[in-house]
């Protein structure tokens, strides 16, 4: 087990810079998820940690030792690839044993480790098959098995679940998480699926265009997004973001939109009067109003998912989504009075996109 330190790392492909000075610390034994939209440089960063991609400038240290010039095989890491990269001509057993064989482990040790990993991953009955004869989920587990038999310092995962169907993905998510709790190995996990990130991570690193936008514990990132990008990216359904101007009247702060709708922002909002802001509220932080001040939302679509009811509607001219735990039989066109939970309102500076307060 070891920590991974990424210090001021840049990456250029030819003349194009794709990673612009990333600083991140992955603590020993933690499960860190790199999250970001496609093309933001997650895989590139992971591959630099693995040693598969050269580091243009900066430093990467594993277990306190700078590894910039250490070849991948000597970094003592294991990686699970998106396409699994199983050796098609080797049986499952040999796929898992290959790394140990190359490192000159004894036959008995290899056998014991492979069988142990197979037991953990429920692969014992497939040891004698070729990768082609396995289902996607089984292949995924073989790829995991190949990583864990080597007992490496750091596990790297590059979107290991993206080829699986939704149900299997949820199941494997739990399995990987359980495996981590059992092995307590430092893990870096790349995904663009924010649910995966939220559910699996000890720490989420949100990336965009080769920068880190925010890093922290999942709920912390969810509750206090640093900026508009993170606010919009984390959470599903996505946060409602409405542009407006701050107005203060008799002690209460409001954000008034271009078409004159006043959104209540709570007492502790720190935006200056008259400044342009983006008002953010998550759909599940909108409640039905029972009397008092309310927002009149005109229902456009109702999407019952079983667990909750998602209402897509219009507030003045802006689209707004609200999610309710209860079932409601709203009709399209109906006007429903709603109210945002004041302590869950986020305000962002309209210019810089930064969080206010």
């Amino acid at each position: 087990m070891a920590s991974v330190d990424v210090r001021k790392v840049f990456k250029r492909f030819g003349s194009v810079e794709v990673v612009h000075g990333i600083d991140v610390t992955i603590e020993e034994g933690s499960f860190v998820v790199l999250l970001g939209p496609s093309g933001c440089g997650k895989s590139t960063l992971l591959r630099m940690i693995a040693g598969l991609e050269e580091i243009t400038s900066g430093e990467i240290a594993i277990g306190g030792k700078v590894v910039n010039n250490v070849p991948p095989k000597d970094r003592d890491i294991a990686m699970v690839f998106q396409n699994y990269a199983l050796y098609p001509h080797m049986k499952v057993y040999d796929n898992m044993a290959f790394g140990l064989k190359l490192r000159g482990a004894e036959k008995a040790t290899i056998d014991q480790k492979v069988r142990q990993a197979a037991t953990i991953l429920n692969l014992t009955e497939y040891l004698d098959r070729f990768p082609r004869q396995l289902s996607g989920g089984q292949r995924q587990r073989v790829a995991m098995g190949r990583a864990i038999v080597r007992d490496p310092q750091v596990f790297l995962f590059d979107e290991p679940l993206s080829n699986l169907d939704a149900k299997l993905r949820v199941q494997m998510r739990t399995e990987i998480r359980e495996l981590h709790q059992r092995l307590k190995s430092t893990s870096v996990y790349v995904t663009h699926d924010q649910i995966e990130a939220m559910t699996m991570a000890d720490k989420i690193v949100v990336m965009r265009d080769g920068h880190i936008e925010q890093s922290g514990a999942p709920l912390e990132v969810y509750d206090r997004p640093n900026n508009l990008f993170v606010a919009g990216f984390i959470g599903s359904p996505a946060m409602n973001l409405v542009e407006g101007t701050v107005k203060r009247a008799n002690g209460a702060t409001q954000v008034v939109t271009a078409d004159g709708v006043s959104l209540p922002a709570g007492a502790n909002a720190v935006a200056a009067e008259g400044s342009k802001v983006i008002y953010g509220i998550r759909p599940d932080h909108i409640a039905l109003a029972n009397g008092g001040a309310s927002l009149d939302v005109e229902v456009a679509v109702v999407e019952p998912t079983g667990a909750e009811t998602l209402v897509v509607g219009k507030l003045g001219k802006t689209d707004i989504q609200a999610a309710f735990r209860e079932r409601h039989a709203f009709k399209p066109g109906q006007r429903v009075p709603m109210t945002p939970m004041l302590d869950k309102v986020h305000l962002f500076d309209a210019g810089s996109g930064r969080r206010l307060g």
Partner: protein, 317 residues
């Protein structure tokens, strides 16, 4: 009109239905679909082949129809030193040339598979020996190997490595090595390009996985490249062996089988005996004697072509 008539007549309707069902039968359909291709093969492949084999059992000569003489041609060939020499030559030629073609071809393919500048041009350039008409390159080689004007001899003597020009085509083993070299030069592009195609189907992430598993570059070659390349290697090997074994043009243009029949291959000897020599029957017998060797190579390819066990199963990855 016919359609309405049949539709009205219930009996012919039933017959049509029967025909329809008969046409739906897989066996019937496959025979029907195979018929055009099979008849072309029959006319253009089987007939000449059968005729050749038949002629091997006769004493037909140019301008004179022959009679069936059984195995007489083959018996005389077995006691014919020149024929036996040609078998020996053919085997040496095929084995040695194939080893070199595959060794060098694989090496070239590996080089070309790296990221190199002007990749497309380099690849096109590599194909050049294969594109040039055989006879043209044979003439070039003939000139290169010329007793008086050989550029190789000239070069070596300029460096002071030899004091007498090498007689490339005048001494049996020199001549054998010379034609083998020419064949290798011509054959490498085919091998290299085929193997390059094979190399490019190997997913780079396999190499990355192997590198992380601790494999050095030799181990990556040994445990990833070679096994993944095996299926295509078997096929290319078979084709290459077939082409080399039946080679005619290069030899005929460079040495005509000389000196002292040292470079006569079975194909050139068959032609020599049959056309200039007029002994059609004997020439046909020599050509027929190649068949067992070729069938052997084809059987090898059959097993090589068979999908290996690890290739079976679903393709979705």
């Amino acid at each position: 009109m016919a359609a309405t008539a049949t539709a009205l007549d219930p009996r012919s309707g039933a017959a049509l239905e029967k025909l329809g069902r008969w046409l739906d039968n897989r066996t019937v359909l496959s025979v029907l679909f195979m018929f055009p291709a099979a008849s072309i093969l029959l006319v253009f492949l089987t007939y000449p082949l059968a005729l050749g084999v038949w002629m091997g059992f006769t004493d037909v000569k140019i301008g004179r129809p022959g009679i069936f003489i059984g195995l007489e041609n083959y018996i005389s060939l077995f006691n014919d030193g020149v024929f036996l020499l040609s078998v020996f030559n053919t085997i040496v030629y095929t084995v040695v040339a194939t080893i070199f073609k595959f060794g060098l071809g694989l090496w070239l393919a590996l080089l070309l598979n790296h990221t190199i500048p002007f990749k497309a041009y380099v690849r096109a350039f590599v194909l050049l020996p294969y594109i040039i008409p055989t006879v043209l390159s044979a003439i070039a080689f003939w000139w290169i190997y010329d007793a008086q004007f050989s550029i190789i001899s000239w070069g070596l003597s300029q460096f002071g490595l030899i004091d007498r020009y090498i007689d490339f085509l005048g001494v049996p083993w020199n001549a054998r090595w010379s034609v083998i070299a020419a064949n290798v030069w011509r054959g490498i592009p085919f091998v290299a390009i085929c193997l390059l195609a094979g190399l490019q189907t190997i997913s780079p992430s396999l190499y990355e996985a192997a590198a992380l598993d601790g494999a050095n570059s030799w181990q990556r070659f040994r445990h990833v490249t070679v096994p993944m390349l095996m299926p295509i290697l078997a096929v290319v090997l078979t084709f290459s062996v077939l082409f080399t074994f039946t080679d005619f043009q290069l030899i005929y243009a460079i040495t005509r089988g000389g000196p002292l029949n040292a470079t006569h291959l079975m194909a050139t000897l068959a032609f020599q005996r049959a056309i200039p020599g007029g002994q059609l029957g004997e020439g046909a017998a020599i050509a027929t004697a190649m068949i067992p060797f070729l069938v052997g190579a084809t059987i090898f390819s059959y097993y090589g072509l068979q999908r290996r066990k690890w290739q079976q199963g679903s393709q979705d990855d």
